[in-house]
Amino acid sequence: MFCYCDFHIHSCLSPCGQPEMTPSNIARMAALQGYNIIAVSDHNTTGNCRAVIRAAAEAGIVAIPAMELTTSEEVHMLCLLPSADAADEFGKYVYERLPDIRNEPGFFGEQILMDFDDNILGYEERLLINATDISLQDVPALLAVYGGVAIPAHIDRSSFSILSNLGYIDRSLGFRAVEISRGCDPRILLENYPELDNMPYYKNSDAHDLYSMLTAKNGLELVEITAEEIIDIFKRGDVPNRLK
């Protein structure tokens, strides 16, 4: 069955995510926009994943756990995880590798932990948007340990992307699919990086506010709706679109 999917949405736990991006608002907006499957991928944390999974179920859709990991090279990687337990464990691993610098809510925004019903559980005090000390080259193997997959995020962006920070995608890292930003024209990207010809890509919203959660357009053909199957598709690069 064809399922509309957005795997890159920020909740209010990301400092740059707007306060309106609560688990239940995200789930309901996604359902309204026609999505079947979503993933909330906050910066270097999976803290709101369980809440989003339950809120999505209440809204009649499916959420899978995810994180937007910042590598030591300040490259953003979209990480999809197979279960809430795996996400908790991965979240713990990443947190220990995040510098102990406090968030300044006035500059970066609050980092709000919530339950599925949008009750505030607490505020994360450590700044989540910093770089971890996890190097990009170790990311694929690391995700394999947790049964997940890592996808270079918004590779067309002029900061925090594998292309902006490292200049090219090292094929030996084995990434079979990449993410491009919602406003990216694949043809222009290819003009600048012709070596990416035929690279499978997926377009997510990377929404930080409800307004940016666009009507569902992109999706995957799935046999069953499970995180494992989705992870497998990205591992194989079996997504519908190729850079051409």
Partner: protein, 110 residues
Amino acid sequence: MTVRMLAEKLDLECISNGDGNREVTGCYVGDLLSRVMGSAKEGNVWITIMSNVNVAAVASLADVSCIILAEGVKPDADLEAKLEIVDAALYTTPMASYEIAWKIHELIGV
């Protein structure tokens, strides 16, 4: 030497004035924001080619005296908007980081 005097000597293009009377204590060159946050010292001039909104927050957290965007880089609109709440002045120049740092060394001797 104050930030304003330094900017005049180096013929920098001013984007945001900040506190021009701050004393320059040295210089830090870097583009990885988390590195800058941990390593730049209070009052340093920060030379970078990064121009996104997080530059303002990092400059504030590291308490640098000013930011110089090298190689002709101009700030994003988001960064420019955020500068209003930052003490650090922001300049841009066509010079490369090495050249700027070299000249700062000649001017302030550190």
